[in-house]
């Protein structure tokens, strides 16, 4: 697994909001099942002293760290406050920030990521479902019931499409090491390349499924620079140019940001590319047959 395990202590920023509260409940339910530490503190300005599902809430991340041992945070605070929250976590010395928040202004994101990286803190997201390592840790909003433990990593720009693929993998008897939703915005913290670097160092991960979509050209770039065996799927073959397909970053803007160009590049590198999600398990099985 990468980014965290059972021992990881998690802080939730935006703990007293509807989303924050709900997902503290689910994350800690998962932690109980797997015997992990889960969410150890919540943070909401001016709400220090409250508890959410038994988790103590503090005014600031620094205050939380005085009493609790944590290395990661999951952020649920709304759009225009999210960047501030990312920087607060990084400044307090956390190693990892998972920003679930949607609709973060992209200039805010750029600045917050630059600041966090200066502080040695990795940011996943924003506009992402977080990550889940089956049997170890869940940081974010992924529905845990679909996952099974194994040796395939998944990196995706999407939420529900990831669940669809994980469901297909699990049904086919292919377990996952860690599943990372990197987010659908044009600028995100951990890119495909960053996550692949971690997977390359992870003894649990034997192959990675890369789920991309229209916009940018980072899928092929990442694939070019890794030794990890890959299977890819790119959504948006039918997406028209210049239209944002739900995600702020999912837009065909000339160049090679369309799905067909990406697929062609990946195939040129001899990477198997699924033409639909249901083909992914077979391609992963073929990959294992070749490499193991």
């Amino acid at each position: 697994m990468i980014y965290g395990d059972k021992k990881t202590g998690i802080i939730v920023a935006g703990a007293t909001g509807r989303q924050g509260e709900y997902h503290i409940g689910l994350m800690n339910e998962y932690a109980r099942q797997v015997g992990g530490r889960g969410v150890v503190a919540g943070v909401t300005p001016k709400k220090g002293g409250q508890t959410v599902y038994g988790v103590p809430v503090y005014n600031t991340v620094k205050e939380a760290l005085k009493e609790q041992d944590a290395t990661a945070s999951v952020i649920f605070v709304p759009g225009t406050a999210a960047a501030d929250s990312i920087m607060e976590s990084a400044d307090a010395g956390l190693e990892l920030v998972v920003a679930i928040t949607e609709h973060v202004p992209v200039h805010d994101t750029m600045k917050a990521i630059a600041y966090a990286e200066m502080k040695g803190c990795a940011v996943i997201g924003p506009n992402c479902p977080g990550l889940l390592s089956p049997g170890e840790v869940k940081m974010g909003i992924m529905p845990a019931g679909l996952f099974s433990r194994g040796h395939v990593g998944v990196i995706s720009r999407s939420g529900t499409l990831t669940y669809e693929v994980v469901d297909e993998l699990t049904r086919a008897g292919i377990g996952q090491s860690t599943v990372v939703g990197i987010g659908g915005d044009p600028v995100i913290g951990q890119t495909f390349s960053d996550v692949l670097e971690r997977f390359a160092e992870d003894p649990e991960t034997k192959a990675v499924v890369l789920i991309g979509e229209v916009g940018g050209n980072l899928e092929a770039e990442a694939a070019r620079n890794t030794e990890v065996p890959l299977v890819a799927y790119i959504a948006g073959v039918s997406a028209p140019p210049d239209k944002r397909m739900g995600h702020a970053g999912a837009i065909v803007e000339g160049g090679e940001s369309d799905a067909r160009s990406k697929i062609a590049k990946l195939k040129k590198m001899d990477i198997p590319v699924a033409s639909r999600p249901s083909e992914i398990p077979d391609l992963v099985r073929d990959l294992f047959r070749c490499h193991c």
Partner: protein
Amino acid sequence: MKLLEYEAKQLFAEEGIRVPTGILVSKHEEILLHMDAIKGKVVVKAQVDVGGRGKAGGVLMADRDTVIETARKLFNTTIKGIPVQRILIEERLDIQHEYFVSITMDRAKKQPVILFAETGGMDIEETARKNAGAVHSVSFCPLLPDVPGFLLRELCGDAPSDIQKIVNRLYHVFCHKDALLAEINPLVTTPGGVYAADAKLIIDDNSLARQGIAVNRDLTEREREAEKHGFSFVELGGNIGVIGNGAGLTMSTLDLIEFYSGKAADFLDVGGGADSERVMHAVRLVASVPSVKVIVVNLLGGITRCDEVARGIIASGVSVPVIVRIAGTNEEEGRKLLSEKGYEMLDTMDHVVKRAVEVVK
């Protein structure tokens, strides 16, 4: 949201970038009111959001004697199918040299990137394709308030130092206006100084509120209706309506329709945790697209509950057939509700899409 040239130029001018003196009119007769300001040669420019506007006939040359007739003709044409509703009449500059400058985001570096070419104008894409070295680029830390001087020198090469100042001011526009793209092509030198002869500015949709923009004009009427409910919605022209949750899953559903040789009518992402009322609005909205013959609902329940989805579909009461694939949270109850009302349901997204393609055939 894309701004039109005259709007972008106004914002550029506020940051100290000189733009040609101009008059904006929405009828050719209005020009009569401004004849005092029109001295010699002018450029008559259609204010339409179209790439390659110049080549498509949207920019015409005129003078004091011909400006009204030229504008009248331009108002009566369409530029790549878009009617001309506003025209900008500008003084014609005595151009010595044309440059190109464009600021956007580098997704790989997670930083702003500035592109600069010493030959701007209509053929910049062609220039870039033929000679990649002709377009210089620099990127730098987004926490800096200005483009560092050494990077400006590196970027602009032998161009006059006034050009460097303008590039930095364009960076200020880029930051202060929450732009995804800020571009001047051409940026021109004249005996009277440096001017932005054209202007392009795209504002981040996530920043419209703090930029004081109430309505996103890039959206069609139905897309705006969708936005009110918090849906992402794009019309695509086919006959199979699509509703999904999550952008990736919905896009993937559209791709499957193409895979099975069907044609999707729309992309509609209901978002996370949709309740029955939101689903009802989504189904009604898609059913209101005239070309829709069947609707595919592909929802994977995580935070979204399948029983809520089922109630929403039933409450919509639309006459077009709705074919459903729901999986995940409260799947059993959702399926039961829908089967009681006689809705067709399938197990996988492959099956539901295949079936929809059969139905329209």
